[in-house]
């Protein structure tokens, strides 16, 4: 579903990604782990077609980036640590706006389904700026799945959430992943990713330093595995 070959990304003289190779099969949930500055967000922005690779090949669902960005964007749902929502619009109005941008058919019905999925049906007419951080993040997931994408990209979605909000977000993430979507999620929170992901890749110094499947490692060994990989 996602194929990346020898990806290089430079900002001026600084090289952030150094010949990165990455492959995700349909339906996989890949947790991309790594320290600050490893290039996780840069990599995800390239996958999301928000940034151009300096060198290398990136393709999603058979479409190459950046040349075929249009079809890729139609198949992508992106959630970052920012909600990408308008504070002065209600939850329903935000979804209506994004639904029109994506040309979602039967939009009213779909908005209702998505608000039910993220547990915000009762707050549909409230302004987003009155929402807690956790509610905004749940609505952000609703925005990302509104057009029923095949691939979901999550960039540290737990940032700034308290314990209850994290648990609720995890339930939504499981629900999203259980529908057969391919998911790539960056995170610092090893304990949470251990429960969610089916594969763990460690990004260090601009390339994938290690990769393992969930059934190849004990959950309590993930921290040791991660530390070994980044050294």
């Amino acid at each position: 579903m996602i194929v990346v070959n020898k990806l290089v990304k430079r900002f001026g003289l600084k090289t952030v990604l150094r010949g990165l190779d990455f492959r995700v099969e349909p339906g996989e949930f890949v947790a991309l782990l790594g320290p600050n500055g490893a290039g996780k967000t840069t990599f995800l922005r390239i996958l999301a077609s928000l940034s151009r690779p300096t060198l290398g090949e990136v393709s999603i669902a058979g479409y190459r980036l950046p040349a075929q960005a249009g079809p890729v964007r139609r198949r992508l749902g992106v959630v970052s640590h920012l909600p990408l929502l308008y504070g002065d619009l209600t939850a329903e109005e935000n979804l209506r706006f994004y639904g029109r941008m994506y040309g979602v058919p039967e939009l009213n019905r779909r908005i209702g389904e998505v608000l039910e999925l993220v547990g915000l049906a009762g707050r549909r007419r409230d302004l987003v700026r009155t929402f807690s951080r956790g509610m905004q993040q749940r609505l952000a997931i609703g925005r990302a799945v509104l057009h029923d994408p095949e691939v979901m990209l999550f960039d540290e979605p737990h940032t700034g959430l308290d314990q209850d909000a994290c648990n609720m977000l995890d339930n939504v993430l499981r629900e999203v992943a259980s529908r057969g979507r391919t998911v790539v999620m960056t995170s610092h929170d090893l304990a949470r990713t251990a429960d969610l992901a089916s594969r763990f890749d460690v990004l260090s110094r601009g390339s994938i330093a290690a990769s393992t499947h969930r059934d190849e490692i004990e959950p309590n060994q993930l921290l040791a595995y991660y530390r070994d990989a980044i050294q």
């Binding site: 579903m1 151009r52 990408l84 308008y86 002065d88 706006f97 029109r100």
Partner: protein, 244 residues
């Protein structure tokens, strides 16, 4: 997984083109609707532009002790200084809203032609600017005891605003991605928009002073040409301006 090309094959070229065309207008309409709905609720952008514009008019009113003849000469200059400065406030605020919660990324992730996003933002900004002008002109008329309800002047105001917003929206999209966006926009915008402002001041002054149409027409033509150039350039480069 390779894309299934057989799905695309039966679609005829005209229908694909008409689909892209309707996608463009749907996205443009969605961006305009979103900006107007958010502004109707918050009134942050319009109120700041309006208060600023009225303060500038008031300051000029006290600063310039003008007799009737001199007034006719400076009115167009005072008006366009006011519109230009108030417009900068509006452009900055309009793009800052997109940046604050990462919404610009949300727009860029949509599978639509990015020029639809540009035109949507530009139409929204033009509506805000015209609303401010529609309030400032009568207030100016009252304070300076000058009749500004001249169809020719209103045409120049419209054409000047279109040119200003066309280039302003493009440069605001560029400036908003920097840390010094509030300072950077006027520095980028004013040198580029000078031809529009000069033509607008000359055209407005011509109508207010009752100069023959033969002498005003070249300025109006210049405004139309600049509007077309700025809109075309923005259409071509917006994609590159907003991408990293």
């Amino acid at each position: 997984m390779k894309p299934d090309l057989t799905v695309a094959a039966p679609q005829s070229m005209p229908s694909a083109r008409s689909s892209a065309f309707s996608d463009f207008w749907r996205a443009l309409g969605a961006v305009v609707w979103k900006d107007l709905a958010a502004e109707l609720r918050s009134r942050e952008l319009l109120s700041s532009m309006l208060v600023f514009a009225l303060l500038v008019i008031l300051i000029f009113n006290f600063a310039l002790e003008l007799d009737a003849n001199t007034r006719a000469n400076v009115t167009s200059g005072v008006l366009w200084v006011t519109f230009t400065f108030a417009g900068t406030l509006g452009l900055n605020r309009s793009m800052a809203i997109e940046k604050d919660r990462g919404c610009l990324d949300g727009l860029l992730l949509a599978p639509v032609d990015r020029s639809a996003i540009y035109f949507g933002k530009a139409v929204g900004n033009l509506v805000f600017m015209l609303v401010v002008e529609a309030i400032v002109l009568p207030v100016y008329s009252l304070l300076y005891n000058t009749n500004l309800f001249n169809p020719g002047l209103l045409l120049v105001v419209l054409l000047g605003s279109v040119g200003y917003v066309a280039v302003g929206t493009l440069l605001a999209s560029m400036a908003v991605q920097t840390r010094t966006r509030d300072v950077l926009l006027p520095i980028l915008l004013f040198p580029v928009v000078i031809p529009v402002v000069i033509a607008a001041v000359k055209g407005s002054g011509g109508f207010l002073q009752g100069i023959p149409m033969d002498e005003i027409i070249p300025w109006i033509n210049l405004l139309i040409v600049y509007d077309i150039i700025f809109i075309s350039v923005a259409f071509m480069v917006f994609d590159y301006v907003v991408e990293e």
